[in-house]
Structures are given as structure tokens and as C-alpha cells.
């Protein structure tokens, strides 16, 4: 276990070195991509500021939800973006064979080999927006609330990554098309950008029990603000753990198929 931790740090050091080597194009890429979530924030600023509230959620409260989701999303891309490319870069090309011939866990290698620059923009915007909202909201902090916030960020990112992994495993069978399948799972997170009570109940249920992105934004925000649904925030880590476990089992299943039928 400790060995994997050391290896992880080593991979990351290399990644950061590469980042520092090409600052110019990295900066342009990041700057360009910051604009996308930034426009989302601008939209909220223009609209929600003008109304008393969005179904009981004030402007800053809406920002808190948006910020938390964007931050978790950013983190998940930074740490797990490479998972998306299993079908395209590893199965179709046979690159997985190289991973299988090394004495460390192939899934670990897949996740850690390449870093997700694309996540930095979202993480940045998410962090800024969340901090801004928290400062403006005057939340009554307690150790429990701090814990809930940290756990939610971690489990939120974990849930995103679980939904990178689960559909990407289909890459063992459908290779390049797996990216499309993964997109479908990923895209539904957009509901969780806003307070879930603006949607019909069915959507709320779906985002809690089927594609639980709500644990990355709605439930932690509810808890911090002392709103009704807040109690569910503590289920977040368990949901994340369950999904990751499911994802891992599915990965093993896909791997078994790969080693028995080649590609």
C-alpha cells in the first residue's frame, strides 16, 4: 500500500514537470477552458441576482451548489481523466498489454499514467465560486460541518470518477465508442448544478439514487445551510464507496474478458 502511494507521488512529480515545461500552451488551454464554467457563473449572476430566490435558494446559496459541483468535477478530471480513454488508447491499440506486463495493478496505472489538464479550469472556477459563496453566506461553522464539506468534496469527486470508470469498462467490448457511452453518464451531472427542488421529483430521485451526483452539491449545500434535505449528506461517502466498488468489480470482469479473448 505504501509502495503504491510512493509510486503515485512519483507519477505526479513527472506530470507536474511536464506541465512546467510547456507553460505557454498550457496557459492558453487553461485560460480558454476557464471561460466555459465562468460563463455558467455569469449566467447565475445575471439572472438569480435579480430574483428574490430560486425556489427558496438565494443567489449565494445557488452559487454554493454550483461551485461545489464544479470543484468536484474539476478534481475528478484532474485525477481520473485518463480512464475515459481506456477503449480508445488501450484496448484498440493494445496499449493495455504494456500495463499488464508490469508488476503493478493495471487499473492503478490507467488512472495515474496521464494527468487531466482539462480539470484545472473547472477546479479553479469551482474553488473560487465556492469560497466566495461561503464567505458571503455567513454559515455557522462547526467541526461537523467542516467534516461534511470535506467528505462531500471527496465523495463528490469519487462519484464522478466512478461514472468515468463504469461506462469506460465497456471499452473492453466497444473500444472507441466507450467514450460516447461515458459522456452520456457524465452529462447528467448538469442537473446537479442547480438546487434539485426546481425539478420534478423524479429527477431528484434519479440524481440521488441512480446517478447520485446530488451528493456532490445539493446535499452538502443543504446541510451547510441547515436546509431540510441536509441529513443525506452523510450518505455521500457510502454511496461513493459502493459505486467505486461496483466499478472495480466491473473492471475485473472486463479484464477477465480481455485476457481470455484477446482483443
Amino acid at each position: 500500500m505504501g509502495r503504491y502511494l510512493k509510486l503515485y507521488l512519483w507519477f505526479w512529480t513527472q506530470r507536474l514537470k511536464v506541465l512546467l515545461e510547456y507553460p505557454a500552451s498550457t496557459l492558453v488551454g487553461v485560460a480558454a477552458q476557464v471561460l466555459s464554467p465562468a460563463m455558467g457563473v455569469l449566467t447565475i449572476w445575471v439572472v438569480v441576482r435579480q430574483v428574490p430566490d430560486l425556489r427558496g435558494w438565494s443567489y449565494d446559496e445557488v452559487l454554493l451548489i454550483y461551485g461545489l459541483l464544479t470543484f468536484s468535477l474539476g478534481l475528478s478530471f484532474i485525477f481520473g481523466q485518463n480512464i475515459w480513454f481506456l477503449g480508445q488508447n488501450y484496448i484498440r491499440t493494445g496499449g493495455l498489454d504494456h500495463l499488464l506486463v508490469r508488476p503493478i495493478n493495471p487499473l492503478f496505472q490507467l488512472v495515474v499514467e496521464y494527468y487531466g489538464y482539462g480539470g484545472m479550469d473547472a477546479a479553479l472556477v469551482g474553488a473560487v465560486v465556492t469560497v466566495k459563496a461561503i464567505l458571503a453566506l455567513g454559515i455557522l461553522w462547526s467541526p461537523l460541518k467542516v467534516l461534511a464539506l470535506l467528505l462531500s468534496i471527496l465523495s463528490g469527486s469519487a462519484i464522478f470518477m466512478a461514472f468515468f470508470l463504469i461506462p469506460s469498462v465497456s471499452g473492453f467490448w466497444i473500444m472507441d465508442s466507450a467514450i460516447s457511452v461515458t459522456s452520456v453518464f457524465y452529462l447528467t451531472h448538469q442537473f446537479a448544478k442547480y438546487p434539485l427542488n426546481i425539478y420534478p421529483r423524479a429527477v431528484l430521485m434519479m440524481l440521488t439514487w441512480l446517478l447520485p451526483y446530488a451528493f456532490a452539491s445539493y446535499y452538502p449545500a443543504s446541510y451547510l445551510l441547515g436546509k431540510e434535505a441536509g441529513g443525506l449528506v452523510w450518505a455521500g461517502p457510502f454511496v461513493a464507496a459502493a459505486l467505486l466498488f461496483l466499478g472495480y468489480r466491473f473492471w475485473l470482469f472486463g479484464l477477465r474478458h480481455y485476457t481470455s479473448t484477446g482483443s
Binding site: 509510486l7 512519483w10 511536464v18 493494445g94 498489454d97 508488476p103 481470455s260 484477446g262
Partner: protein, 333 residues
Amino acid sequence: MPIIQVENISKVFRISQKDPGLGGAIKALFRPRYQDKVAVDGINFTVEPGEVVGYIGVNGAGKSTTIKMLTGILVPSGGQIRVLGRDPHRQRVPNARDIGVVFGQRSQLWWDLALIESLNLIAKIYDVEPARYKQLLDQFTETLELKELLHVPIRNMSLGQKMRAELVATLIHEPKIVYLDEPTIGLDLIVKERIREFIKQQNRESGTTVILTTHDLGDIEELCPRVMIIDAGKLIYDGPLGTIKDRFGKFREITFDTAGSLDPFEPPTGTQVVTQEPRKLVLRFDRTVTTASQLASTVMSRVQVADFSLAEPDLSSIVKQIYGGALQKEVSQ
């Protein structure tokens, strides 16, 4: 004590059969049909430590499938493999520590990292002792002339540079067995020579066992005292390279473009008619008995020839000969 033991292994792939068109797609949905493709069919061999074995066969003969089973990437349908006493699939991690693999044109190195960074990572992954790592690194980069390339990312390297880098990456953790799948493909002669020399040196000095699959007979001639030939999933030859060279290396084929058709052609002594068609005549001759120019002039004196070409013995023709029982025929002569 053999380092690799392969007992009666086979690999059967189930390929789904689908009729074309809408009707076929629906049928396939309700009643899927499969066809079995036998890629490897009952192969047996052992390899002793320190051997350098060439493993050749035409494309689709089952080479890659065998290598994948040996390296633990593919599970055999039947039979047993023991590498260093382990099942390479069931004991993937311990086996992985002792082997190195080069997969032809796919690099194991990270395309955007400088070579030295990739090598450092690999050293970490395989737990190479730092002092030993430095020693080997200096040695290898010296021999393969990679010193200037250490800070170049793989994506900026030429094919020859990439392959040299690949070899260092594969051998830096001092594996006991190295599987090289088409290591010289697409490279020019000078680079090939350097690589072959490097492999020979490794085998000589460290006793690394080498399994080499290749289409390049030059690789075989330089490196492999022992050759295994696989065709249609079966091992049809396992023995010294010398035997093959003696028996088949001496044959050449010469193709004549003839003007108009011929009566059945009586080949000169020591030659054989391989093909006779209206505009084409292919003769096989033993170059220790006659020369190409002698044969050409003899033929041209008897037949009107528009053009002719000389073919070097290629792998598929040798394999054809062997599979056609030519080896047995030769031995009995």
C-alpha cells in the same frame, strides 16, 4: 532446469457469426452462432536459461498468440505454461518482475516524458536499486548511444531512436527473460546492427533468455542458434538454425515473364519447376549447383523471355517448403 515449459497449449477463439443484412442482425440477436478459430493447436517446447530462440511464422500463424500466453496476457484454452516455475497468468505480478517485453511498434514509454524521466519511473516501478540503476543506465546509454537523447520526449524521437530507448527501458530492470516481438521492424540496417549487437551482448554477459519473434531473417541469422517455426497454430520445426539454412537457404526462385505459352518445360538438371502459367515460369534452383546467370542464359536460349526477376528465399516460401514435408524429403535424400 528449463526456464520456460510449454505443455500442449492451445488457444481457441470464439468468433460470432452474423449473416449480412437486417434479417441476419435479428437472427444474431435471438440465436447467436459462433465459429471456433484455433489460433494455437497443441504446442510443446522447453527453453533453457540463457538461450536465444527465434520464433518465426507467417502473419496469422499464431506467433503473437503464443507470446501473449507466455507473458500472461492471454489465458490458454488448454495445456500448461510454466515460466520460472510459475503460471504467468495466475501469478502475473511475480512473473512480471522477471520479464521484459517489447511489442513491436508500440512503445511502453510515456510519450510526453523525457526519456530519462520515463526510465526513472520504470526503475521505481520495478524497484531497481539506485546504484545498480545508475550503473546500468550509463552502460546502456553508452552502448546504444542514447546520451544526447536522454532529455528528449519519446514523441520527438525517430523510429530507430525509439526502439533503442525501448530496449533500455525493457532491460533496465534486469529481467531473466525478454520477449522481443518484431524489434527491428521498419529500421534501417545500421540501427538493426546496433540493436542485434546489444541483444547479443546482454545475453552473453547477463545470461538473459531471449525469445525473439521476427520476420527479418537477418535477425535470426545474427542472433538465434535455435529456431521454432509455427504455422497454422502448430509447431512444425524446432531445432538448430543451421539445419534450415543448409537445407533451404541455398534455394532461390527465378521468375521468367515469357512471351506466349510454352509446351511443358523440361527444367535443366538441378532445377525444379515451381509454377508454369501462360506468361510465367518460375524455377527453383540450388545455388550451390548452378548460378542464376547460368540458369537464365540456359532458359533464354530455349524460350523467348521478356523479363525475369530473382527472389531471395523468404520466410513464407521456407515455411511452405517445410510444411509441405520438404524437410522430411531432404532428410531422406
